[in-house]
Amino acid sequence: MSSAIEILGVAFAIVVIAAIIGYYARVRNASLEQWAIGGRNVGTLLIWFLMAGEIYTAFTFLGVPGFAYTFGSPAYYALSYGVLAYLFSYILLPKIWRASKKNGVITQPDFFRERYGSKALSTLVAIVGVIFMVPYLELQVSAIELILGVMGNNLILPAFVMIITFGVVAGYVVMNGLRSATFTSFFKDGLALVVIIVAIIAIPILRFGSLSNMMHQMVLAHENYLYLPGHSPLGLSWFFSVVLMSSLGFFVWPHAFQAFLSAKNDNVLRKNAIFLPIYNVLLLVTVFMGFAALLLYPGLTNSNSAFLVLVKGTFPSWWTGVVTGAILLGSMVPASVLLIASSTIISKNIYKDLIKKDASEKSVTTVARVFVIIITAVALFFAIELPALFVNLLLVGYSGITLFLPGVALGVFWKKATKVGVFSGIVMGLATNVIFFLVIKQYSAIVYPGLLGLLVDAVVTVLVSMVTKPPSEEVIKGFLEA
C-alpha cells in the first residue's frame, strides 16, 4: 500500500515537472500555425527530439517488451524499422519540407489539396488519417491506464484512473500546443535514456548475475523464442513485410509530417536523418527486458505490463516511481503530438475547408481544442471496449497511414501523379487492407496485410495517373522543383 503511494507520488512529481516545462515553453495566444507546427521555426536540437519522438515512448517501454515476452523474436522488427525510416527520410523529407514551405502547407491534407488541387482528396486524407491515428492514440491512453493500474495496485479505482488519464492528456495539450510538446520531449527522452540504461545494467545483474547468464538461461529454457518465427506463426516474410511497411510509413504519419514541417530549414532534417539511427540503439534493451520478464514472471495475464512488473519486482519504490514517471511521459508526450495533429486536421481541413469557409482563425483554433477532448474520449472508449496488444494497435495504424505514401512521395518526385490516381490508390489500398485483415486473415502471419495494401495503392496510383490529367504546370513546378 505505502509503496504504491510512494511510486505514484514520485511519478506524479515527474509529470508535474514536465507540465511546468511545457507551460513555460508555450506561446501565449498562439495562432493555429504556432500551436500546430511551432511557427515553422524549430531548430536542430529540438527537431531531433521531435523526429525521435516516436522512439522512446510507451510503445517502446511496454509494447516491445510485451511483444518479446509473448512471441519472442518478432519483436526484433522494432529494432529495424526506425533505422530504415531515417535513411528513407533523408531523401524524402527535405523535398517535402521545401514544397510545403513554398505552398503554405501546415497539415498533411493541405499538402494533398495544394499539390493535387482537390478538396475531395484532401478530405479523404483528413478522414483516413484521423481514423488511423485513433489506434495509435488508444495505445498511448491504454498505456497510461495500465501504468496507473499496475503501479497503483488497487489504490485508485479504475473509473477514477480513466478520468485522470483523460484530464491529464487532453488538458495538457489544449493548454500548450506543439512547442511545449517539443520542449517536454527533451525532458522525456533524457529521463527515458537514464531509465533504460539503469535497467539494462541493473536488472540482469540483480536478477541473473549478468546479462550473459540471463541469455544462457533463455537459450536453455526458450531457445525457440530467440530466432524467427519465435513462439508465434510470424516468420521471415512477416518480418520483411512489417519492417518494410513501417519504415516507409514512419514519416507519413500526419503527426510526424507536421512535426518535421516545424523545422527551421531542410538541412536540419538531412543532418538529423544521418545520426538518428544511432539514437535508436537502446531499443535493444527493451527486447532484453521482455526476455527477462519471461524468465522471471511467466504467465502474466497482460503481457503489455511485462516491463512494469519487472521494474516493480527489482527496484526500490522511489526508482520504480521514476521509471513510472518516465513511461507516463512516454505516453503523454506522443499522445499530445497525435492529438494536436488530428485536431488541427479536423478544424482546418474539415471544418474550415468544407463546413465554414469564412471561419475566423479564432474559431478554427477553438474547434481544434474542442476536438482534442472529443478524440481523447474516443480513444479512451476504444481502450476500454477493445483492448489489444500494443504492437497490433500500432501496426493497424501503420497499415492505414502508409497508404498516403504514394501520394506524398510521387507528389514531389513524379509530375504525372494526379488527384484521380492518388484518390483511387488510397481507396483500393484500404479495400485490400480490409479484405486481408477481416475476410481472409489467415495470410496475415505470412505477409502483413498493410504492405499488400500499400502495394495495391502504389500500382493503382501510377496506372490511373497515367491516363488522367495532371494539375497545371505551375502547381507541379511548385512541388517538384522546390
Binding site: 529495424s80 530504415l84 535513411l87 544462457h216 530466432y227 520483411f240 544521418i274 544511432i278 540503439v281
Partner: protein, 74 residues
C-alpha cells in the same frame, strides 16, 4: 566526361541507399538460421544491431556526395 561522372554518382547514391534495406530486410532473415549468441545477443539480433551504426555511415556518404554536387553546381 562530367556527365558520365554525374551519372556515376547518381547510381552510386542509389546503390548506397539500397544497402541498408537489403542488409536488414534480406540479410536479417538470411542470418536467422545461425543459432549462436554474440555479445549476449542471438545472432540475428546482433546483425540488426550492426545496422544502427552502418546505416549512419552510409547515409553520411550520401550526404557527402550531395554536398560535393552542390559545390560543383555553385
Amino acid at each position: 566526361m562530367p556527365i558520365i561522372l554525374a551519372m556515376e554518382t547518381k547510381t552510386m547514391k542509389k546503390v548506397l541507399f539500397l544497402i541498408p534495406f537489403v542488409g536488414i530486410l534480406v540479410g536479417g532473415p538470411a542470418v536467422n538460421g545461425i543459432h549462436m549468441l554474440v555479445l549476449d545477443m542471438p545472432f540475428i539480433m546482433f546483425w540488426l544491431f550492426l545496422w544502427f551504426f552502418l546505416t549512419p555511415i552510409i547515409t553520411y556518404q550520401i550526404y557527402r556526395m550531395d554536398e560535393k554536387e552542390k559545390a560543383v553546381v555553385k
